[in-house]
């Protein structure tokens, strides 16, 4: 427990820091609300004349879309920490090396806290309003308590998986020295495979098979479908174990990659 202490302190500080930007959060809420509406309307139009049974019902999809909007900070790869990029590109990384704590864990908790703070500020107003909307747009409640608990657990694990993935963006900057490029490529690919562009149940069969092999869907698609009951509870438990497995693999690989990158860096003076 003692070894965890500095990381928890970082987490707390960052949370407080993030909470300062309340006005920005409010603007964000309005923006996300607009997006939510637009997406729902597009899918309503698609579903209006759909003939056969779809793998996900419109109500489940509406819920899926609202959850996406509320937890955007949990699932967006482009959500970034410019401080870390600056550290790497300017050479100030040298200071980080002097700290008596593991740099992977330190950055991990930093990034985690940033996402948590942003999501905490934004998700409640969106969720609340979405519950109160007219039925066609309403966010539905999960079918039972057990489902809800599974959702919470899978969402949290999903967040950890996402941070572990995003660590690779920062590591890649050591090689490319171009934060924007890495961010764009990671962001676009990751979001597509997380079902942010097209919900995964609506993708064609062959693409779904690829998606299920990758970790990206575990961060967004999986918890959201657990919530609406689109993924039954039994399968959800299985999925949570898959999340855990991915988390360990990603964290392990990330640590090795970071160490390798660190060995190679040459800090230029100035």
């Amino acid at each position: 427990m003692r070894t965890m202490k500095p990381y928890i302190a970082v987490l707390r500080l960052r949370l407080l820091n993030g909470m300062q930007y309340r006005a920005a959060a409010l603007a964000g809420v309005a923006t996300q609300f607009f997006w939510g509406f637009i997406y729902i309307m597009i899918f309503q139009a698609f579903y209006a004349q759909a003939s056969s049974n779809q793998p996900i019902s419109l109500e489940e999809l509406v819920t899926y879309l609202w959850l996406q909007q509320s937890f955007l900070a949990f699932i967006m790869l482009w959500f970034r920490d410019n401080e870390l990029f600056d550290l790497i590109t300017t050479g100030n990384i040298a200071y980080e090396l002097c700290r008596p704590i593991g740099i992977y864990e330190y950055w991990f908790s930093k990034l985690l806290a940033q996402r948590l703070a942003s999501a905490l500020l934004r998700c409640f107003p969106i969720l609340l309003l979405a519950f109160l909307l007219p039925p066609a747009y309403r966010l539905m409640l999960p079918p039972d308590v057990k489902t809800f608990l599974l959702f919470c657990l899978s969402l949290l694990l999903g967040l950890l998986v996402l941070v572990a993935i995003s660590m690779f963006i920062y590591i890649s900057v050591f090689i490319t020295l171009s934060p924007m490029g890495s961010l764009l490529v990671f962001g676009v690919v990751g979001e597509f495979f997380a079902g942010m562009v097209v919900p995964i149940p609506l993708m064609p069969e062959w693409l779904q098979q690829i998606v299920y092999l990758l970790p990206f869907r575990l961060t967004a698609d999986f918890p959201f479908r657990v919530y609406s009951g689109n993924i039954p509870n039994g399968e959800a438990v299985e999925g949570i174990f898959i999340q855990l497995a991915w988390l360990f693999v990603l964290a392990f690989l990330g640590k090795i990659a970071l160490q390798k990158a660190m060995k190679k860096i040459i800090v230029q003076g100035g």
Binding site: F37, I38, A48, M180, G181, L184, V189
Partner: protein, 260 residues
Amino acid sequence: MKLYFQYLLVLFKSQMQYRTSFWLLSLGQFLVPFSAFAGLYFLFERFGQIKGWDFYEVALCFAIIHMAFALSECFARGFDNFSSLVASGDFDRLLVRPRTTFVQVLGSKFEFTRVGRLLQSVIVLAWALSNLAIDWSLIKVLTLLLMIISGVFIFTGIFILAATLSFWTIQGLEIANIFTDGGREMAQYPLNIYQKWVTRFFTFVIPFGSVNYLPLLYLLGKGGEAGWLYMLTPLAGIIFILPCIFVWIVGVRHYRSTGS
């Protein structure tokens, strides 16, 4: 105008200094709309059509909007980043130079990497057009061009409005994204698939409807008798920029330096 091109040249040279970054960014810019387009494709593969529009018709709409967006992001990027200019007080320097602020801000930033995005929409446009049975005439070609130009003007207008806001707020506002990114996302489908209030807002307040819906009806021969009237609607989109420039001028008058 000559000044503007010189700005472009200087910026191009400076951006080419970071070659790897430049190509990566261009690739990324290519991928962004590509993933959106792939999404569109998969949705149509499943559903077949959306309120009577088929895939190629919507693809045409998508290509026009994305092309317009890419072009205006290329040219009017300076306005997009404008809030930092105000916050740092650097705008003062522009005011003392013997040129209009408009040209200077316009030329202050130019994103050549948007070429990736542009390329993607050109490909989609070509693909959509080759699969649509449109009996072409000179007027229809003109309409198509007008749609793109009009789209550029609307997006630029929104960028200017958002920039002007920062005279009062100092900070940039995320909320402006509703009309730029949100407008782009929304306008990639023909407007009539949305609820009435959305359609009305984006036809009469921000005239996206005059870019992507009404002239599209004419182009595809869906407009009926009065179809040729729709052909003229992109002009309304072009006019949209006038009030935006006016607001900009008012904003500049109102400007007070942050002093830093």
